[in-house]
Symmetry: C2
Subunit: 101 residues, 2 copies
């Protein structure tokens, strides 16, 4: 299952949010049952941060949201930015038709 969480942030606070999400993933999320991987992205315009993460199941992700180890990190993120998490499945993957020139 793929979690795509889009954070909308003041550009002056984008780096602070990135640092917070990296720290939260390192110290809490990656130790939670069912967590597989996370990729943190910053938008080139400074206004967004996206966490693109893989979880084993929806149940594991929902259990994390109730986990006391995760809560302070989520509250800190909520104080810095608005966010809209979505749960997805990959339906198609495609690569360049030839050398990408």
């Amino acid at each position: 299952m793929t979690l795509i969480n889009v954070f909308t942030v003041e550009p002056s606070r984008q780096q602070q949010l990135v640092d917070l999400l990296i720290h939260a993933t390192e110290t809490a999320m990656r130790h939670v049952p069912g967590f597989i991987s996370a990729n943190i992205h910053r938008s080139l315009d400074g206004k967004k941060v996206v966490n693109y993460a893989q979880w084993r199941s929806v149940e594991d992700f929902e259990a994390m949201q109730k986990n006391p180890a995760a809560k302070p990190h989520m509250e800190q993120a909520a104080a810095l930015a608005e966010f809209e998490p979505g749960l997805y499945e990959v339906v198609d993957t495609q690569f360049a038709a030839g050398p990408n020139v």
Copy 2:
């Protein structure tokens, strides 16, 4: 460079949008210079579709947007859904601390 394009769609039209994006990637995007890969996702709640794609550079992505081969596909998507494309760079990748159990 990572493109994350979040489409908001009527759940009754989610599958139609997914089919359109797969077809557009197959017939147009993957032949465009600078395209590397695309992953199409559908949200479990039916309300979103996300295209998570890699491009060689911002310039290649911008050139695609002016490419006549891409235009009809983008217009068809715009008729079905609202979308908000964002250009990103990956700043951090992390994996589970141990076996994910």
